[in-house]
């Protein structure tokens, strides 16, 4: 069984500090949804509000259509996986997984069957008798998932559970988490500051900044079509060229920057005279016969990719050339002119 999660104008305040600011969102049943944002952006607060450890100051959380006001964490159809996993060190793996069933008063025999089933799911079939400290990091991870799944939650909440693992294991666990989610078919809500995790695993991503959900969408949409300055600069690398809108026409805007008049898409419908930033991805930036001038400061060759650092006046810029692009990378110290395709740049309102 799975359920949708609705945040209806949820605000959470701690004294004068607003941790979550009017969050409005519906997470579909069976969806893998990620909250992505820097630390302190309020994403963990949102998760703890959904799980019931924090009550919203304003607004309501609805799970499966039911208002969760006043319902304690142990009575919600959610299960939370903690950042440090919070496995019980004095219990065996099997007892950890069976804990939720034990508090529900299930008989040892019935419990055992379910625990065995879950041990199979996480591929630790013969390790049920081990203690937690005998397991590797990845195995602990999987035990934490099994313990949460044992109580058959409709929504699984994950609070950066991969952050303690090394890079290789983290990448492996991404695939594994996604596979487990598709097998059990329940809603996963995942918290991360790692855009790689969010982009690879999620059906949709909510990008958060300073308590506000800035943009919600599929990973590709968020990367290709950021709607705010924060999203554009936080998700993926981006070159920001500040200026003022000079003219608009047919969904495009021309921005008067320090490097001349540059054109990009105008998704927010900016009007001439407004302060703006033009964002262009490193992979969209190219050496061209015409454009604005820059000096090549450094080149890092990585095989399939070449990272090129440039300086245009005081502004550092990044350019990325793929091995399959059939473009000849410049040399350090070269004086080049840069350009990009209009539809690959985005003009967004500049923040205060």
């Amino acid at each position: 069984m799975t359920a949708d999660v609705v945040l209806d104008d949820v605000t959470v305040r701690f004294g004068p500090f607003t941790a979550v600011d009017h969050a409005q969102l519906r997470i579909e049943p069976g969806e893998f949804f990620s909250f992505l944002g820097p630390s302190g952006c309020g994403k963990t607060t949102i998760l703890r509000t959904i799980s019931g450890f924090i009550q919203p100051t304003e607004g309501a959380v609805r799970i499966g259509g039911r208002d969760m006001a006043g319902i304690t964490p142990n009575n919600r159809p959610t299960a939370l996986i903690f950042q440090n996993l919070a496995l019980f060190p004095m219990m065996s793996v099997a007892d950890n997984i069976g804990y939720g069933l034990r508090v529900r008063g299930q008989s040892r025999r019935k419990r055992q069957a379910r625990v065995d089933e879950l041990l199979d799911l996480i591929a630790l079939s013969d390790q049920g008798g081990k203690m937690i400290d005998e397991l590797s990091g990845g195995q602990r991870q999987r035990v934490a998932i099994a313990r949460a799944l044992a109580v058959e939650p409709q929504v699984l909440l994950l609070d950066e559970p991969l952050s303690a693992l090394d890079l290789k294991l983290r990448q492996h666990m991404r695939r594994e988490l996604r596979a487990i989610q598709q097998r059990v078919g329940i809603t996963f809500i995942y918290i991360t500051h790692d855009q790689g995790e969010a982009l690879t695993m999620s059906d949709r991503i909510g990008v958060m900044n300073a308590g506000r959900i800035e943009q919600v969408g599929r990973g590709r949409d968020i990367y290709d079509d950021p709607k705010t300055e924060f999203v554009a600069s936080f998700v993926g690398e981006n070159n920001a060229l500040p200026g003022r809108v000079a003219a608009v026409a047919e969904g495009l805007a021309a921005v008067e920057t320090g490097f001349g008049l540059l054109r990009g898409r105008n998704p927010r419908g900016l009007q001439p005279g407004q302060p703006a930033k033009l964002f262009v991805r490193p992979e969209a930036l190219r050496v061209r016969p015409q454009g604005f001038a820059a000096d090549v400061a450094d080149i890092a060759y990585e095989g399939n990719l070449t990272h090129i650092s440039l300086r245009a006046g005081d502004t550092p810029l990044a350019m990325l050339i793929g091995a399959g692009d059939h473009t000849q990378p410049p040399n350090i110290g070269d004086h080049v002119t840069l350009g990009f395709a209009e539809h690959e740049a985005t003009v967004l309102p500049a923040g205060p």
Binding site: S51, T72, P73, N74, F82, A86, P89
Partner: protein
């Protein structure tokens, strides 16, 4: 064997123990030279001297002499070391069977006092645990740092008052015309003053109160080291509050519970001030009996024997409980 040889044996034992440690250090290839090198001459001499003196003169020798004394008969000073000063079990026999002139086959009075002391100490320890655990949990997991400081101060401050004074203060409260009786009479709950001292209420309150603090601190430390998220995880998985305490917090705090309860049990069973000051006229607690052996009967060997019976029983009891709860002595100090 005469007492003279016994004395030599007692003095030789610490030397033998020291020799054992030196030899075992040698066997493990831990050279004394490296100890010297690591600490420097001055510090090394201080460490060895201080630890050695402390262990031998404060702990080992007095106890050994008491053990030795407990096996000797009570003799006038002129006959000490004489032909009648031989090792005997008569002091231990007296505890079990009483004097030879007694008609009872068992020394009922002393044995009963002994049993009451052990059982009551267990009950007081359990009561103290039930009282301290919620407090320790609140301080360790719920309260803010500022509130914990205030609470700790409030807990510690009463213990600046010495034990005897505290006991007499309780006597003032519980006496026939004391504060408590007058308050109860004033409220019309009782017409005649209740004999709290005779019913041993005052003594048990005094005993519970005396070592309360020694349980709060180990419990507080043990519960404090529990990750809050473990409690949250259990709650999230649907555990009711009592289940979390019984199966998450207490197993984690087991070493602290064990060390605190051991301390309280040992000290309560050996407490002297509260039973002496607060005990009723018919009260028989074991420690005043031991005290009487020394200062009323002037029978030091018998007093030593009684004290050792109490000590050994308590140690055996504690070790048995630790064994049952699958704890080692090493874990308790964690």
């Amino acid at each position: 064997m005469t007492a003279a040889t016994g004395h030599w044996l007692v003095l030789a034992l610490p030397v033998l123990v020291l020799a054992f440690f030196v030899i075992s250090a040698r066997l493990e290839k831990r050279s004394i030279a490296s100890f010297w090198r690591r600490n420097g001459t001055a510090v090394s001499i201080y460490l060895l001297g201080a630890v050695g003196l402390w262990a031998i003169f404060m702990i080992v020798l007095p106890q050994l002499f008491m053990v030795e004394m407990s096996f000797r008969p009570k003799l006038p000073p002129t006959q000490m070391g004489g032909p009648r000063d031989i090792y005997t079990l008569q002091n231990y026999k007296y505890f079990l069977f009483g004097s030879t002139s007694s008609t009872d086959s068992w020394n009922v009075i002393h044995l009963r006092a002994f049993a009451i002391t052990i059982v009551a100490s267990v009950l007081i320890t359990l009561f103290n645990f039930a009282f301290c655990y919620p407090l320790a949990f609140y301080m360790a997991q719920v309260a803010t740092a500022a509130r914990v400081r205030v609470l700790l101060l409030m807990l510690i401050a009463p213990y600046w008052i010495n034990e005897v004074l505290r006991a007499f203060a309780l006597r003032v409260i519980f006496a026939g015309s004391g504060v408590l009786n007058r308050a109860l009479q004033g409220m019309g709950l009782i017409t005649e003053p209740f004999d709290f001292l005779g019913a041993d209420v005052a003594m048990y309150v005094g005993l519970s109160y005396a070592y309360l603090l020694l349980l709060v601190f180990p419990l507080y430390n043990a519960v404090e080291s529990l990750d809050k998220r473990q409690i949250e995880a259990a709650r999230d998985l649907g555990a009711p509050w009592w289940h979390i305490h019984l199966f998450i917090v207490m197993p984690h705090a087991k070493p602290g519970i064990a060390s605190g309860c051991t301390l309280v049990f040992m000290l309560t069973s050996g407490a002297l001030a509260a039973p002496l000051v607060l005990g009723g006229p018919r009260t028989l607690w074991f420690t005043p009996i031991v005290y009487d052996r020394f200062y009323q009967a002037f029978n030091w060997p018998q007093g030593a024997a009684y004290a050792f019976i109490l000590l050994l029983t308590c140690v055996a009891f504690v070790l048995a409980v630790l064994r049952l709860s699958r704890l080692s002595l090493g874990e308790m100090t964690k």
